[in-house]
Subunit: 355 residues, 3 copies
């Protein structure tokens, strides 16, 4: 695809300063060729402006003088994202139901859906208009899939699950698998039937190979516009709020309630039956054993507020040194005690711990 700089500027409301020309792609400052547009959002990349081959740079007013040709933007990162949307690959056009797909006669398929070969739709399930089911997708019985959902190859939606509008389920994700409910009774393991379901609100993204368990009772819920990365585990009966960002390999254990606009960084683990407030930020690899009130940012295992975490993290590698300093103090103090013992008037200080 080729566009003129002036055309891009016009579409996105940016101001072109410099020569107009055609360009054909987007790239970072460092890797751009002469037919690429680039962008500057993080000032730490400003040193690359001098050497870039990009034919133009999406850039804020204050830095624009540093670019040969500038596309001046109030929010360069957002305008880069909007520009990128013009370069998204369009898949081969296909709608309708492939002859090689298996759609139960009682299932409903809305207008403009694309059901690729080897996809499955179970009895009594409904697909609203505009859904795309790539090959190998499984939608079980009694599911309700909202309009314009995209289910990538080999994604699995088990029976009874509900998806809102415009959800994206990436490849290999599994929604509605049985919650891990077992009780040890009489020395044996007894399964607790998981008779609930999963409900995803509108605009939810589920990453590749991520798992969302069905609830024991009621529903596991993911709120509007929440985005889950790859390989995330959401336990049964979890309730996740709106506009959350859950990064890769995070695990949230059963029955925990998470508020809105919460961010959890990679590999964090949240124990079960907790309450995590709105606008909380949990750092990478954090281990959260207790409720977190609204607005708190923190990290660490166990989870601590950010300030505490930063100070504690710095001291962890210094533990050997702390130990050494304590030993030195003990030695000195013992020396002083010996010294003081020589004075007539002094009683020995006790070595006993007060309980």
């Amino acid at each position: 695809m080729a566009l003129r700089l002036s055309e891009l500027a016009g579409r996105l409301g940016m101001r072109l300063r410099g020569e107009d020309r055609e360009f054909s792609g987007l790239q970072t400052l460092e890797e751009a060729g002469e037919s690429d547009v680039s962008f500057l959002s993080n000032p730490r990349y400003a040193p690359f402006l001098a050497g870039t081959k990009a034919c133009a740079v999406i850039i804020a007013e204050e830095f624009a003088h540093m670019a040969r040709t500038a596309l001046i933007s109030a929010n360069p990162y957002l305008d880069f994202a909007r520009a990128a949307s013009f370069f998204v690959r369009k898949p081969e056009p296909f709608t309708g139901v492939s002859e090689l797909a298996v759609v139960h006669p009682t299932a409903e398929v809305g207008k403009g859906c694309a059901i690729h070969p080897h996809a499955h739709v179970g009895a009594r399930s409904s697909l609203s208009p505009g859904c795309v089911l790539y090959p190998g997708v499984y939608v079980g019985e009694d599911c309700a899939i909202g309009p314009d959902c995209v289910l990538y190859p080999n994604a699995v939606i088990l029976a009874g699950v509900t998806l809102g509008a415009a959800c994206v389920i990436n490849a290999g994700a599994v929604i509605g698998t049985e919650g891990f409910g077992f009780v040890r009774a009489d020395g044996a393991m007894r399964k607790i039937p998981q008779i609930g379901t999963v409900v995803l609100a509108d605009g939810v993204d589920i990453g590749a190979n991520t798992c969302v368990d069905r609830s024991t009772l009621g529903a596991t819920r993911i709120g509007k516009e929440s985005k889950l990365d790859n390989l995330v585990q959401i336990g049964h009966n979890v309730s996740l709020g709106e506009h959350c960002l859950i990064i890769s390999q995070v695990g949230i254990a059963g029955s925990t309630k998470v508020g809105d606009r919460v961010t959890m960084a990679g590999q964090a683990g949240i124990a079960g039956h907790l309450s995590i407030g709105d606008d909380v930020t949990v750092g990478p690899q954090a281990g959260v054993p207790k409720d977190i009130p609204q607005g708190v940012s923190g990290s660490g295992s166990p989870f601590m507020e950010s300030g505490t975490f930063m100070r504690a993290a710095v001291l962890l590698p210094k533990l050997p040194e702390l130990d050494k300093r304590i030993r030195r103090l003990e030695k000195k103090l013992a020396g002083m005690e010996q010294l003081l013992a020589r004075f007539p008037d002094t009683a020995p200080t006790s070595d006993e711990e007060t309980p």
Copy 2:
């Protein structure tokens, strides 16, 4: 489905106190409607008894007076689980081999098996009676699948693997993938062929997208009734005992031997070539670098016994404070040393560390 309270009581050996009526579902105390039965197992939820809309509550004798209508049970949680089993959704009845499945002519398929469209069974594999293979399931060559196993959509059983009776393989799980065996030789990476297999005993559950590696030699083994949650990694040559509970995102590295009735909480990691005794409990995110003797409970990275862990975990966020206290001691001591130096009789205490 609708049942009468008296009928439920009769089937499970509970005692009904209050008015008999029909009900149609199970719910938590908080979310129950008027046609739901609920339960009280954890006393911390007792405050919800007053406000619940549930038409009856499965409850222990001692709390029964707090419920309008009580189903009195010796073990409310277990009876709830048993009640839930009446409400498990029944999938569309289907047995036989779909015309759209691919079953090798040399494979044996037992009576009452259901092989859904786009499932695969390789050469010389045998499925015992009553197995269900959902769409997209792959069973490789020379596998032996015990009776009444359920393989959910897109589960993969690679060549030569053995499953006992009544195993459940959840969606996207992979059993028998090549162990991660490489040796750096002459600056290159050389693969060590993994010529072993995987053997699951009776009643094993494998979670969604969980991976169990085939062994280098012999077999990777999972013992009777052991339950693995989603996204778990079991390395090659691991041997896991009976009745274990392995929670989501746990990783067990190669050749480690785990005893019976072991519980590992979410995201714990166990190094390779270890021996973990019977009845061990490993906490969430624990990192286990050494053998654990029988019966020990613990957590932390590195793993410590529970008591130690609890005390150490409390002190981690206090590291900055410990550091401050040491600095204060150092300062005071320096002051005292100066002071004592004024006394004629005192030799300076050494600042040197004994080696």
Copy 3:
């Protein structure tokens, strides 16, 4: 399969000492039967030599006297690996394109490829000679797959991805899923289109259910002969060098650059936008928040060099004891202060912290 010991020795350049005979498999010293060959590589297993039933042992000269029948080798582990390659199961011979596969008319399929039932190849993609696509594999549009690649069941290669020669993609792995790019703007979540791709060099192995994200711009790259284990997450725009070993459940966040011959142990997490030098080793569960220079080995969260980590890890469980020792010092010092206060000439030492 059966081989004579002399034949094995001949093929691998080992020297047979003891009686020649036929054998039929390979096993560990402990589990070998009379028709198995075993090996001794790690001297810690030498005690098993006495009791093994193996008919011969691949072994170094210096230990050979301890084996009844020895296959004397300069590198017993490597020769074991080479011997194992003779015992790798050969899958049912199959080449060609199954009638039940879906290959777009514009796709190119090289000589000797095997495309199993229910595999997919999208428009304009090319498979070089000798590739195997197992059932349920999805290769999207515009992909380029090098010669002799093996894609195990249900592996997913999304549009535009490039694989070098002899790559192995294990079951359920997903290559080229959308990078997790979102920006919070005006209180809403806006997706950043990921218009880049993924490029795997020759000889790359990707573990089961591992995810490699496509880049925002340019390509996410995995270098020659690098091996990734199961359930690994590689973020968008990551660049991984050659001959790396990335163990199970590791996560590498977006835009991080990793050098050659790097090893990352299980569950380690690497933050985004970092630079990790050549020949670095990262321990299990390590959390890496900063660049690591070339050649460093370390572990811990936050990451520390190995020596520091070992000393710090030992002290973690001793935190309660350190705390006690500090309290004891404080108490003693307070006692001494009281004592010294009795002397006329002494001013009180300050309890105040210098800022």
